[in-house]
């Protein structure tokens, strides 16, 4: 492992983010704000969704405006099984992941036939379709959502998601796993094809890469990763509702990725921490926090391109300068 990276501003910032996540269950009580542990649990769950969006949007250039739908599908997999009394994680989780993947396959297969503006609008439209579907099914709670009586049961002694710390570190470990998977994928041959397709799809076709298949694969992997976020969210909140796939959440996910630094591995985590802490603080000040958040979002887009990671990267010496 190369420890040099830790000396750069980005390295320090990224290490801080991870340390903050690890030690929050102890930091929060120490500063007398116990609820911050919960806030960080939620942050990491949202971060997983943002990491998966970053995978297709940041590295693959696929701007999905309906990504939250996979959070909903993962969440409802837990909720629906639990409402029928099936609590085993070995049924809930594989089905949740498979369903997210299957929906991603169908949505991706149709949406990826188009590009640009069409892609943005179609992913949004499909997400709304699933949203309205979940609203219309009275058996599973319609608008009101489903309260989950028991969390997923792994059947392992001393491993119980009802324990707050166990839940927290389950989320943490899975989030780190998603970060590692993303890094591995992005640097693999597969990831190179995806990134090349983002910068010039036609050239990739010309040199003989059928990018459609590669992009669709990335879309399905991202869908499943996002489904994981939903599985965790349902367990963490003991509740699922159509709101978790409403289009504004998809918009927030895009913002989180851009805020943190699109196309960087750790960007989504930083974005999630900043966004959710900010909304926590603002909503404590005023109920109408969107009044501040809306213009803030516009300012970030207009003046802070590259997000936090991009800003910190400016302080780094370029590789040429080093040698």
């Amino acid at each position: 492992m190369n420890l040099e990276i830790l000396k750069t501003p980005r390295g320090i910032y990224n290490s801080l983010l991870i340390l903050l996540c690890i030690f929050m269950p102890w930091i929060a009580p120490a500063i007398g704000q116990d609820f911050f542990t919960d806030v960080f649990g939620r942050i990491m769950i949202v971060a997983i969704a943002a990491i998966s969006l970053n995978l297709i949007m940041g590295f693959g250039g696929m701007i999905s405006f309906g990504h939250a739908v996979f959070v909903g599908i993962g969440g409802y997999a837990v909720g629906i099984f639990a409402s029928h009394g099936i609590e085993s994680a070995y049924i809930q989780w594989p089905v949740g992941l498979l369903m997210s993947g299957l929906f991603a396959l169908i949505i991706g297969a149709i949406s990826l036939r188009t590009r640009g503006v069409y892609f943005i609008m179609i992913t949004l439209a499909f997400a709304q379709m699933i949203y309205f579907l979940s609203v219309s099914i009275e058996k599973y709670g319609s608008d009101d959502g489903l309260t989950i009586d028991a969390r997923s049961d792994f059947g392992i002694p001393f491993y119980d998601l009802n324990d707050a710390l166990t839940m927290y570190f389950t989320v943490f470990v899975l989030m780190v796993a998603c970060l590692l998977i993303t890094r591995k994928m992005v640097n693999s041959r597969f990831g190179r094809v995806i990134r090349a397709a983002k910068s010039n799809d036609e050239r990739m076709h010309t040199i003989g890469y059928p990018t459609y298949g590669y992009k669709l694969t990335a879309f399905v992997i991202a869908g499943m990763m996002c489904g994981l976020s939903g599985l965790l969210s349902a367990n963490f909140e003991d509740f699922v509702s159509p709101d978790m796939m409403f289009w504004t959440f998809s918009g927030e996910l895009i913002f989180i990725v851009v805020l943190g630094g699109m196309g960087t591995i750790m960007g989504p985590l930083g974005g999630a921490i900043i966004f959710l802490l900010l909304s926590e603080v603002l909503s404590n000040i005023t109920n109408s926090w969107h009044l501040i958040f809306g213009p803030f979002l516009i300012l970030v887009v207009l003046f802070a391109r590259g997000g936090v990671e991009g800003f910190l990267a400016k302080f780094e010496k370029s590789p040429e300068a080093k040698s």
Partner: protein, 307 residues
Amino acid sequence: MNYTLLAEQFFNGFQLGIILFLVAAGLTLIFGIMDLVNLAHGTLYMFGAFFASTLVAVTDSLVLGMILALPVMLAAGLLLEFSILRTLYERNHLDQVLATFGLILFFNELFLIVWGPEGTGINLPPYLTGTITLPGGITVPEYRMVIIASGLLVALLLYVLVSKTRVGMLIRAGASNREMVGALGINIKLLFTLVFGLGAVLAGFAGMIITPITQADSGMGESILILAFVVIVIGGIGSIKGAFIAAILTGLIDTMGRSFIDVALLQIMDTVAAETAGPAISSMMIYILMAIILAIKPSGLFPPKGA
């Protein structure tokens, strides 16, 4: 299922189609010509509803209030274009999506504060509250016919503007090849502002004429925005003709679906199953239609030539 109910639902669906067209026409032109993803187009629809409600209340006249609201809409649209959206033309789609998303959050919250969670509305004057009986015993509320007639009139004016005038020629040329229009010495900036103003007035008009039926509330813009997206994706981005056909199609299928899917399902399954599946299927109908059309024609039914 009887014949008159079918006909009444047909009028409801047609009316929804007209509203969708008014919103989608501006949206598709703005996409087609400026290459701008404007999520805040639904916000302009909301502007129309609230401005007209207030002006109708102030002037105590439906017609006068709505006519006064039109120049206000134009001013609001131009102000928005001039202050924020203009800087977004050169940006990529992602920046446009986020910045206009920020606009939505801001204005929804602002309108919520100013007009409260219940929103506001327009009461119809007595001469518009009656119903019209058509041959065959079909009754249609008068005001619905007013919406359909005025919407069709606007559609006709738009058609004349786009296909018979010099400005319209530039708009069509801009939709199929923006750079070339600029290269030929046309003031592209002015054309953009003009098109945006036109789109704002159309969306605002749709918002104001629907308000006597639906009320005006914060957030009303987004449900229509997403339907308008479906419409322009089906119709082909940049095509007014496509937007019209797709809007009417979407309006009819959505409304008729909601009314008759349960009835149709009852023929093939039992009551409980039909009552569960009915709402689920009918809420998905237009998206399924969109998926089918895209699977066959990825650029929509009427993609502008050269795009």
